[in-house]
């Protein structure tokens, strides 16, 4: 099974310029998605998919102009198949521009999580009902 996704792209711009497109929400939106990203480790942010669902993210690593990584998962509050993964960007200055490497990896799928949670909800509700003092 394929475990990760890798794409390498080459640009004539400098790493500094390409970096802007990976870290400035107004520029990211032009090619990726709208978000409230900030290049700060630990910052929680979300990309908004065209269908108004969210990609839920947390910044893991920021090395200006060379490396950026964040957690990339779907919205566990609404999905039936929660997954998590990591997105990592590496920029390398090369002759005539920049090599940009994307690695999307560490996929983990928690298929039974929601079913499990709703199972607990059901039991807790039931317990709540049982604990209610019967009304006369």
């Amino acid at each position: 099974m394929q475990k990760e996704i890798k794409h390498t792209f080459y640009f004539t711009q400098t790493p500094e310029e390409v970096w802007q497109y990976l870290t400035k929400p107004e520029l990211m939106e032009q090619w990726l998605m709208p978000s409230d990203f900030q290049p700060v480790v630990g910052h929680h942010f979300r990309f908004t998919n065209p269908n108004n669902t969210f990609v839920v993210c947390e910044v893991l690593e920021v090395k200006p102009f060379t490396h950026l990584a964040y957690v990339w998962k779907n919205d566990w509050a609404v999905t039936k198949t929660p997954y998590t993964s990591n997105v990592s960007w590496t920029l390398t200055a090369i002759e005539g521009g920049t090599e940009l490497l994307l690695v999307h990896s560490g996929f983990e799928l928690f298929k039974d999580l929601v079913a499990h949670n709703s199972g607990w909800m059901f039991l807790c509700n039931k317990l709540g009902d049982l604990l209610k003092v019967p009304k006369k």
């Binding site: 640009f11 711009q13 497109y21």
Partner: protein, 106 residues
């Protein structure tokens, strides 16, 4: 031995179990052959195997005196779908970035 049922999170949280799943993703194995790769007692390995089984990650089949563990594909197929989807997703998005940057360079 008491039967443990953990949720998928707890199942994957344990590094030994993750390693077992990884080994089983390559080929089916008997519990004994799994155990050879771990620095723990055979009962400890059996316990992990039971956890994986209870959570639906693997199936166990008795063949002769050996217990054969096989990965259950369902969850993994779904994961592969995610990966395929994102492979195309990023290829498309990065193409778009390329176009934007190329136009900017002109």
């Amino acid at each position: 031995m008491s039967t443990q049922t953990l949720d998928a999170f707890q199942v994957i949280a344990d590094p030994s179990r993750r390693q077992m799943l990884q080994m089983l993703s390559k080929q089916s194995r008997t519990i004994n052959s799994l155990a050879e790769n771990f620095d723990m007692s055979r009962p400890a390995v059996s316990k992990h195997v039971k956890v994986l089984y209870n959570a639906g990650f693997i199936s166990i089949k008795d063949i002769g005196r050996e217990r054969h563990c096989t990965l259950k594909q369902d969850g993994f197929n779904e994961l592969q779908d995610f990966i395929n989807y994102f492979d195309k997703f990023w290829a498309t998005k990065l193409k778009k970035l390329e176009t934007i940057l190329n136009n900017k360079a002109k």
